[in-house]
């Protein structure tokens, strides 16, 4: 059969080989970090749902009237007297709950949910959700350092996407091949290339937005150094509304009903998204109203009122700069929080594909080494431990968080991950893989059962059943993966 003509330009072989060498070395250098960030990011897409799962005895509220936000704020202030800041976020497509966050004068932070009437039933912490989101955002390192590491991982991922594309001269010829079995290297290469190519728009957006979110501190700091003599506040001041002069003299709350009514008049097509009170009950207090639009990703219009209820700052999304709109869009684009379950499921599946690309990338390298007669067994074992330790570490940390408030999920995750690494060099790769997948499957099956045993009788939020079913489905997938016999690595030809 004649070779089909391809529209893709012919790339010289030496160039492809050079790009492949760079792709390999960068991929290996960042493999573990990229895997961890991709895995944690895929789970973090569902953070709002895991929060609901951790606190399942509160019925979801699809929509509440703005006066519920006022009632919630008043209930909170009645109970605690005063606060530095109070944030009341109303239910939206991502999370059907009224969320409460408050910083008190004594430094305490209160977090929880209010019911449909605005009754605040006390603190509702979600330690495991906090842990897994934090792991993705800054690896629980000091924020400036951790977010920089995650940002640089995003840059490395973006660079790998560029070099991966350039090193693929058969991009169209192989576009529809997924051949399992045969040799391990070809099998892993097919999975790596297909999941990489067909998910490319998503992969690029995730890597770019992730890098940008992670490098924000560095970029803002450099700008400040260049233009504002190192004062980062001046850079941030370009994007954030001005604050009122601090004056702690006691004063009554302004008329919140009138303020909400005024904001509603100014943004008739928008709905209240967030009510924020800064220094409530003081002369220097302000009320920040965010009005969201259903067809916009940006957070929405911003109206700020002073202690007398007078409007002193406005920023409407329709009139804000392109830069501000892009900035407000990065988060939803990165996490898939723009269309409820539709976008979340799509992001979990595509995030899984990106995680698969990372996993198979290293598998190709180890299979290539083996086929050339230079196996790297320790690297292979450590990589398998890296990959399969995470379902186990996530499962154990969630189970412990479900049963007892201490130890913290981060500590549990660290111990389990560390133990997997420490034991990996002493067992063969196949055994590590099978053992960790078996333990992971068992944990993912036990977790929903334990949750039902503890909270099932008081489930008021149906998402708890959805998460339980999802965990169980993951357990089944892991069991099925155990039945799959991997392709052998090609042995070197005898000399």
């Amino acid at each position: 059969m004649a070779k089909p003509k391809t529209l893709w330009p012919r790339v010289p072989a030496p160039f492809v080989q050079a790009v492949l060498a760079g792709h390999s070395s960068l991929g290996l250098a960042f493999a573990a970090l990229i895997y961890l960030v991709c895995f944690s990011g895929t789970v973090a897409v569902l953070v709002h749902d895991f929060e609901r799962w951790e606190w399942p005895n509160l019925a979801p509220v699809e929509q509440v009237e703005p006066d519920v936000a006022i009632a919630t704020a008043r209930n909170l202030l009645d109970e605690y007297g005063a606060a530095e800041h109070v944030f009341i976020t109303l239910p939206d497509i991502n999370s059907p709950r009224t969320r409460v966050y408050a910083e008190l004068h004594d430094g305490r932070v209160l977090e929880g949910f209010a019911d449909a009437q605005g009754n605040w039933s006390g603190e509702a912490t979600t330690p495991w959700s906090e842990f897994m989101l934090g792991l993705h955002i800054d690896l629980h390192l000091p924020h400036a350092v951790g977010s920089f590491v995650v940002g640089m991982t995003g840059v490395a991922l973006l660079s790998l996407l560029i070099s991966g594309l350039l090193s693929h001269p058969r991009i169209f010829r192989d576009a529809f091949h997924i051949r399992l079995g045969g040799t391990k290297r070809l099998q892993e290469a097919d999975l790596h290339n297909r999941a990489g190519i067909w998910g490319l728009p998503f992969h690029i957006v995730i890597a770019l937005t992730g890098a940008l979110l992670g490098l924000t501190t560095l970029i803002a700091g450099t700008l400040a150094l260049a233009f504002f003599k190192g004062d980062v506040e001046q850079t941030y001041a370009l994007f954030f509304p001005p604050a009122l002069e601090d004056d702690t003299t006691p004063a009554p709350l302004p008329d919140l009903d009138a303020i909400l009514a005024d904001a509603a008049t100014r943004a008739p097509e928008a709905r209240l998204r967030m009510l924020r009170l800064d220094h409530p009950g003081e002369t220097g207090q302000s009320v920040h109203i965010s009005m969201g639009y259903p067809d916009k990703l940006a957070f929405g219009d911003s109206y700020i009122y002073d202690g007398n209820g007078e409007l002193f700052h406005t920023e409407q999304v329709s009139e804000s700069s392109l830069g501000t709109q892009i900035l407000q869009t990065i988060g939803p684009y990165h996490f898939g929080w723009f269309a409820g379950w539709v976008s979340k499921i799509a992001y979990v599946l595509l995030g899984g594909a990106l995680t698969l690309v990372t996993t198979t990338g290293v598998a190709i390298w180890t299979a290539r080494r083996r086929s050339k007669g230079h196996p790297a067994p320790v690297t292979e074992r450590l990589w398998i431990a890296t990959v399969w330790s995470q379902p186990v570490a996530y499962g154990v940390s969630a189970l412990v968080a479900l049963l007892t408030p201490l130890p913290a999920p981060l500590l549990v995750w660290g111990i389990v991950t560390g133990a997997c690494f420490a034991l990996a060099p002493f067992f063969d790769a196949r055994r590590i893989s099978v053992t960790l997948r078996t333990i992971g499957a068992a944990l993912l099956a036990i977790l929903p059962l334990a949750h039902i045993a503890l909270h099932g009788a008081s489930y008021a939020d149906p998402v708890a059943w959805v998460i339980d079913a999802g965990l169980f489905a993951c357990a089944i997938l892991l069991v099925l993966s155990l039945r799959y016999k991997p392709a052998p690595a090609r042995q070197p030809r005898p000399a």
Binding site: R194, L297, A346
Partner: protein, 187 residues
């Protein structure tokens, strides 16, 4: 209602476009360019429709997630199993180029890819911020978007080029040029 239809259409378009591309891929014929161009036009039109119906930022976000997912679903249906019979044909895939494994070369590459790549991308990002004719917020955000893109490109170049001095000197020159541009204009 319209939004739900567009959501479904986006996933179906991903599948449909992948079917057209697969048809072009499987059976080379005179109609092949038409299938390929048709697939990409279908995707372009649906992205435009999604932007119109769902909003200029939300629509493309849906498209970015759902079209690849539809295409991946179709590609996944074509999985073939091969038997490992021990007689494996020689792989036609190219091998990475063999480079000298000298420590100083690796060290140089790391220096060029990471710190130098970071410095050049930050400098050029700020130069963009300084010179781009727009309001300060837009200049800063677009300049910021350039930083990871340029750094990723610099990283790929530093790790790809067999002659490490070439990207190193080019990046130093670009950093100096960017610095000069910033100094000329100021903020």
């Amino acid at each position: 209602m319209i939004e739900s239809l567009v959501i479904a259409a986006l996933a179906v378009t991903g599948i449909g476009a992948a079917i057209l591309l697969r048809r072009a891929w499987r059976r080379p014929s005179a109609a092949r360019p038409a299938f390929i161009i048709g697939a990409w036009i279908a995707i372009g039109v649906l992205v435009a429709v999604a932007a119109g119906v769902m909003g200029s930022a939300r629509g493309p976000a849906f498209a970015m997630a759902l079209v690849p997912l539809g295409a991946l679903a179709l590609v996944a249906t074509g999985v073939k199993r091969r038997e490992a019979n021990g007689r494996v044909a020689k792989s036609r895939a190219l091998e990475p180029s063999l480079r000298g494994s000298k420590v100083w070369r690796g060290f140089m590459r790391t220096l060029v890819a990471a710190p130098l790549g970071c410095v050049v991308s930050l400098t050029l990002g700020i130069a963009w911020t300084v010179w781009f004719p727009a309001d300060p917020q837009t200049r800063i955000v677009l300049g910021g978007v350039w930083v990871p893109v340029l750094w990723a490109g610099a990283m790929a170049w530093a790790l790809t080029d067999d002659r490490i001095l070439r990207p190193a000197l080019s990046m130093i020159a670009l950093t100096l040029a960017g610095g000069a541009l910033i100094a000329i204009e100021g903020f």
